[in-house]
Symmetry: C2
Subunit: 140 residues, 2 copies
Amino acid sequence: MDTLGRHLLVEYFGCNPRILDDEATVESGLVEAAHAANTTPLRTVTHRFAPHGVTGVVIIAESHLSIHTWPEAGYASVDFFTCGKSDPLPAKDVLLSRLQATHCEWVEIKRGLDPQGKGAMSSMRWTTPQLEHGADPAAE
Amino acid sequence: MDTLGRHLLVEYFGCNPRILDDEATVESGLVEAAHAANTTPLRTVTHRFAPHGVTGVVIIAESHLSIHTWPEAGYASVDFFTCGKSDPLPAKDVLLSRLQATHCEWVEIKRGLDPQGKGAMSSMRWTTPQLEHGADPAAE
C-alpha cells in the first residue's frame, strides 16, 4: 500500500432515522461509497445495537471505511480512510445522499508518511470543517 | 451509545517490522488496547496483505479501533474511536509498547454531538500532534 493516506472524517446530520437503523441499507451504502472512492472492498462487518444504531466497517485494499449511526439523533459519524490513487471525496457524497442527510461537516486529515518519509499529520494545517448541504428531498 | 465521541488518530513510527506483519499479534494487541480503553470488543476482523502489511478492526460497543501496518516502513496508522465513559488514551500506550514503536504522534478529534446538540468537531481547536517516545528496548 502507498504510505500516504487521506482520511476524511465526516459528520452527517438530519439523516433519515429509518435508514440509519437499517443494517443492510447502511452496509450497502458503505460498499457503494467504497466503489465511488475507487477502492476495493475486501471484508465487511456490521453490528446492530439494541434498541437502535448500527456500526459498519468495510476493509478495503486501500485502508477502511467505517460508520456509526445514532438514529435517535439523525446523526452518523463516518470515516473514509484511503491510500494510493483512490479518492474519498465521492464516497462522502454518496452517503450524503444515501443517508438523506440535510447536511454534513467534514475535514480531511493527512495520514502516513510524506514523500520525505516524515509524518504527514504533523505538517498539515487544520481548517474549519467544511459544511455541505444535501439535496432537498421535497425538490427531488 | 453516547453521541459525544473521542477519536484518537495515532501514527506509530520505528515499529518492529516482524510484529507489524504478524496478523495474530496485531489482532491481540488491538483487543488488548480495547480493554485498556475500558471498551467492550464485539467483533474483530483482520486482513493480511501480500507481500506484507496487516489491517485490523475491532468493533466495540463504544465505536471502533482500527490499525493499518506498513512493516516495510516500520509504520502503523491507528484509530481509537470511543464514546461514553471509555478512555482511548491508555489504548494508545498499549500499542506504543506492543508494536515496539520508537515514537508516536497523535491528535484527538472531538466527534459527535456536544451537550447542546451541535457538531463537536466544528468547535474544537486543532493542536499540533503530540509526540510520545516508546521505551528503549535496550533498557528493558
